[in-house]
């Protein structure tokens, strides 16, 4: 059997080691597996491939994708295309970051631990809250975790969700909460597309452990966080604000300062590759009072025996490896490298970069929205303010528009009908515009949509 490039033992060394153990052949290594269970034939898997052929094979597979020019893609709905500075990939490609283990041994993991401490701080600064954990899987399951956290802090068996949350997030929340004895109810939105705080007040007449809104919401509309926070406070309920586009925090008031108790969501927009849906980054920030209920890992400051400042995973008694079935979550491996990616992105952009990039996105989206409003047969159904996503109502079903414009090399947006069964939304298209979309492509989008009627 030829030696494999990832296996450092030569045949001679192998023989030698077998002898040292006192075994006659390699097969004897598996003597503890019942004979009946031992595989006779070979596994039905392809390969082996030498590296050159492997690269060619994978490149061919990647080439099977027919991706429109990124500049002609106007897709959001939970994942956002932003330009990541070159330093991001360069730095996360350092083997000390990507090939290292979870920092359980802090003495040889200060790089990771300090970077996470900084990440936690950045998230707190952006959201206006006191605490952040070290990362969770992605936005939707993080929302489920946030809801469970609020329920643990103040058990009530009921949670109230805005009906303008990303439908996939709601689906995921339902899956996670299925057997936890928590009723999930929703409250409606106004004509302008934003959540209706009067409806929220009414929904909270019965006790609920949390009120959940998305900001900007699934239609791209900004929510009135202060009004909703007042409603929640009045009812003694935790306000959870979920965000799918973290760059919005470069422009919008931090929800924590507007009365949100928990701000969580998807951090992919901060330099994490689109990568067909994962790996992504769930961020979770909360008020100090939630400390003991916080799921996930947390890094804290510590001093060593020589008095040096360092960092360590702390408050581990919340977690599964100690508290087991009573843990605040079952999460173990999270999205460490994605959190690092986001932190480096935030550091590289810095205060001015994040704020300017956010304004830049908003300006692009405002221009696009204006042009699309003027396109023949098109209208803007929701008047509420927006960040970099908005809904345009087309003269034809949105799915049809998507197919037709795909032939012209444009990924024009996400049809709401993909998620919402309401026939009233058949012609609604969710359009996202970021810094990567040049004016020329925005104009082309408007022209093509105008030709649909």
């Amino acid at each position: 059997m030829a030696a494999h490039r990832y296996l450092p033992l030569s045949d001679a060394e192998r023989e030698d080691m077998l002898r040292a153990i006192g075994l006659a052949s390699a097969g004897d290594l598996f003597a503890s597996i019942p004979e009946r269970l031992r595989l006779r034939g070979a596994l039905d898997v392809p390969g082996p491939l030498a590296e050159m052929d492997l690269v060619a094979e994978m490149a061919a597979r990647a080439g099977e994708n027919l991706l429109p020019d990124p500049r002609a893609q106007f897709l959001g709905a939970g994942a956002y295309r932003h330009f990541a500075p070159s330093v991001v990939d360069h730095l996360i490609s350092r083997t000390e970051f990507y090939s290292s283990y979870t920092p359980y041994q802090p003495e040889i993991s200060q790089g990771t631990l300090q970077a996470v401490f900084e990440y936690q701080t950045l998230i707190c600064q952006l959201t206006g809250l006191d605490l952040s954990n070290a990362s969770m899987y992605e936005g939707a399951s993080t929302l489920a975790e946030g809801i469970l956290m609020a329920e643990r802090a103040s058990p009530s068996g009921r949670v109230v969700l805005s009906d303008r949350l990303h439908p996939e997030y709601v689906q995921v929340v339902r899956t996670h909460l299925a057997n936890m004895g928590i009723a999930i109810e929703s409250f409606g939105h106004g004509k302008d597309g934003a959540a209706d705080s009067a409806a929220a007040r009414q929904a909270l007449e019965r006790k609920a452990s949390s009120l959940v809104v998305q900001h900007p919401n699934f239609f791209g509309c900004l929510e009135e966080i202060e009004a909703l926070a007042a409603v929640a406070r009045q009812a003694g309920t935790t306000l959870i604000v979920v965000m799918t586009e973290p760059l919005a925090l470069g422009l919008l008031k931090p929800p924590g300062e507007q009365g949100a108790d928990i701000v969580l969501g998807e951090g992919q927009g901060f330099g994490v590759p689109l990568s067909y849906g994962g790996p992504y980054l769930g961020f979770l920030a909360a008020r100090q009072s939630f400390l003991r209920q916080m799921p996930g890992r947390i890094v804290g400051e510590a001093r060593d025996v020589d008095g040096r400042r360092g960092y360590v995973l702390t408050l581990s008694t919340r977690e599964q490896h100690i508290r087991r079935e009573k843990a605040t979550s079952n999460i173990c491996t999270n999205e460490g490298l994605c959190a690092l990616t986001a932190a480096i992105f935030m550091a590289a952009l810095g205060k001015s970069g994040i704020m300017e990039l956010a304004r830049h996105n908003r300006a692009k989206a405002a221009y696009a929205r204006q042009r699309l409003a003027e396109a023949r047969g098109c209208s803007i159904p929701y008047a509420a303010p927006f960040f970099n996503e908005f809904v345009v109502r087309l003269p034809v079903p949105a799915e049809t528009a998507v197919q037709r414009l795909a032939e012209r090399g444009l990924a024009c947006g996400v049809p709401l009908s993909r998620y919402l069964p309401d026939p009233a939304q058949q012609r609604d298209l969710l359009v996202c515009v970021t810094e990567v979309n040049p004016r020329g492509e925005i104009d082309r989008l408007a022209d093509e949509l105008g030709r649909l009627a």
Partner: protein, 135 residues
């Protein structure tokens, strides 16, 4: 073991879960023993119930945490929580330093003053129990 008596003070009652109970009239003070705090190591957090909460003998009423472990606290007697040692919030290390004094955890207004709750040991019985467990 000259500290022997300090580790198993007389006049207290002890449980198999390593809590101690000191009764004065209707009120019983509860904490964990020297053995328990030594086993746990440096205590970082104590989670205690609210004043007014009901506790049931043998049922958990809170938790005590070290860096690497968490243990439930079991009520040695039934009753209503009358007082909670709020100082433990800021100074959980009191439980390590003075488990029978400043490290007290809750005071219970006992449900039934006449009947001693079952399962309680004297200092001598508890000492033997601990020594047996260690072997």
């Amino acid at each position: 073991m000259s500290q022997g008596d300090a580790i198993y003070p007389e006049g207290l009652r002890y449980t198999k879960e390593h809590e101690w109970l000191s009764t004065k009239g209707a009120v019983a003070t509860v904490g964990i023993t020297h053995y328990a705090q030594a086993e746990l190591g440096d205590i970082v957090y104590v989670e205690l119930p609210q004043v007014g909460a009901a506790v049931v003998a043998g049922e958990p009423f809170g938790t005590v945490e070290s860096v690497k472990a968490v243990s439930e606290l079991f009520a040695p007697a039934s009753g209503v929580v009358d007082e909670v040692n709020a100082a433990l919030q800021a100074s959980p290390e009191q439980v390590n330093k003075d488990p029978y004094g400043d490290g007290w955890m809750i005071r219970i207004k006992v449900a039934d003053q006449e009947e001693e709750p079952p399962g309680l040991m004297t200092a001598g019985q508890y000492r033997k129990y601990v020594e047996d467990e260690a072997n």
